[in-house]
């Protein structure tokens, strides 16, 4: 049995021109070239993509779910950031 696992990569796929790359899953590969090759075989067998990004999982930094409340709450009471907060007179068009 091999001593070291191939590193883990996160896979992002652009499903068609004009759309963002979207996270679809992960896989193991020895290097980036192999990760892209494997991602092609694992995640785009039915034309699900036109472009692939791979990022080694250890390079991804994430916010902490335990802090989610404190971290995202400040946006909660700022309704004035949304257009629906404002009253527009009925006679005003195109706004």
């Amino acid at each position: 049995m091999s001593q070291s696992e191939w590193p883990l990569w996160e896979v992002f796929i652009r499903s068609k021109q004009g759309l963002d790359h979207k996270h679809v899953g992960s896989l193991h590969a020895a290097d980036a070239a192999m990760a892209i090759q494997n991602a092609r075989d694992v995640y785009t067998r039915r034309m699900e993509g036109v472009s692939i990004w791979v990022v080694e999982s250890r390079h991804i930094h994430a916010s902490n779910p335990d802090d989610a409340a404190a971290f995202f709450d400040p946006a909660n009471d700022k309704v004035y950031r949304h257009p629906t907060f404002y009253q527009v007179p009925d006679s005003i068009k195109h706004m």
Binding site: M1, S2, S4, E5, W6, L8, G25, S26, L27, H28, A30, D31, A32, A33, M34, I36, D41, V42, R45, R46, S51, I52, W53, V54, A62, N64, P65, D66
Partner: protein
């Protein structure tokens, strides 16, 4: 505050009850994590071992069309295994450890794959019945409470329905063919029917973990509920094919609007689960051989990657994923 009184476990259950998905970094009870790692890795092993009985027929498929279809299906199953291993890894399980457990005989996989595929009609039955049963199991799992598992299942389910259809088509072709072909289809159904019913697992009253898995919304239907659905779904399809389901007790029950059916041979079920099925030994040996014979490839690939890293060779000299191009992308 009212919520301050609740334990982490109660808060977790509240989120489950509100049908919120749990993501890998969220707090979860240890038993939830363990149950999921076991279930997802068993599921992954089933996809991978499940390639063996069908792979057996790739070289002997009766036409180029059937060979291409079977290859595509088997390749899908490899993909399913990979989606699922990845989902289990988000819970902290290591891929190598999961494989080591499989190879050591410590981990389970679906018992159905310990039955042999003796004739071409068996490939029809595997697609039609086995993938049919898998679909019934998997569709509710698309809404299972753990996010990565649910997302993997959405992907799997999208790919599964062609599997069942190609199996049904094989059966239909045989049933519309020569009497010998039809007999072959019937003979295969006779052997696969009962083992397929076993795929849904032990009866509800002998499935101690079901209640908790339902409470955590990992499972959404009990084993017996799914088995009943399966019988109700498949009997009319067998009738369409002109085949006889090998169960003398099978009878339409007007009151429950479903079929009554005979008792599964649970003794056989437990024998196969515990390693004494017809092919348990061969299947495991095939996996172990593949792993060991591939060891030099895994090592060589790592060594090659390391060498390239030291030479600082870019992966794609003019490829679309060159780092410098990402920001403008």
């Amino acid at each position: 505050m009212e919520t301050a009184e609740l334990t982490q476990e109660e808060l977790f259950q509240q989120r489950i009850d509100a049908d919120q998905r749990i993501e890998p970094k969220d707090w979860m009870p240890d038993a939830y994590r363990k149950t999921l790692i076991r279930q997802i890795s068993q599921h992954a092993h089933s996809e991978i071992v499940g390639m063996l009985p069908e792979g057996n027929w790739i070289t002997r498929a009766p036409s180029l069309k059937r060979k291409s279809i079977l290859l595509a299906k088997v390749q899908d199953e490899a993909g399913h295994g990979l989606y699922l291993y990845s989902a289990a890894e988000t819970l902290g399980a290591s891929r190598d450890q999961m494989l080591a457990d499989l190879h050591a005989g410590k981990a389970k996989y679906s018992s159905i794959f310990n039955y042999p595929t003796l004739s071409w009609a068996d490939i029809g039955c595997v697609g039609w019945l086995v993938d049919g049963a898998a679909i019934l199991n998997q569709v509710p799992l698309c809404r299972t409470s753990f996010g990565p598992y649910a997302r993997a299942m959405v992907r799997v389910c999208k790919e599964e329905s062609f599997h069942q259809r190609q199996g049904f088509e094989i059966m239909q072709t045989l049933c519309e063919g020569a009497p010998e072909q039809k007999a072959m289809a019937q003979e295969a159904l006779n052997r696969w029917w009962w083992p397929t019913l076993m795929m849904f697992g032990p009866k509800d009253d002998e499935s101690p973990n079901t209640a908790r898995s339902m409470q955590w919304r990992i499972k959404r239907f009990t084993n017996d509920e799914l088995r009943q659905k399966f019988v109700d779904m498949m009997v009319p399809q067998a009738e369409f094919l002109g085949l006889t389901v090998p169960d003398l007790a099978l009878q339409w029950n007007e009151t429950k609007q479903g079929y009554d059916f005979g008792e599964v041979n649970w003794e056989e079920f437990w024998q196969v689960v515990n390693g004494n099925g017809l092919c348990n030994h061969d299947r495991l040996q095939a996996r172990v051989d593949a792993w060991e014979e591939g060891a030099w490839v895994r090592e060589a690939a790592l060594a090659h990657a390391e060498k390239r890293r030291q030479r600082q060779e870019p992966i794609h000299k003019s490829g679309p994923t060159r780092k410098a191009e990402l920001p403008q992308d």
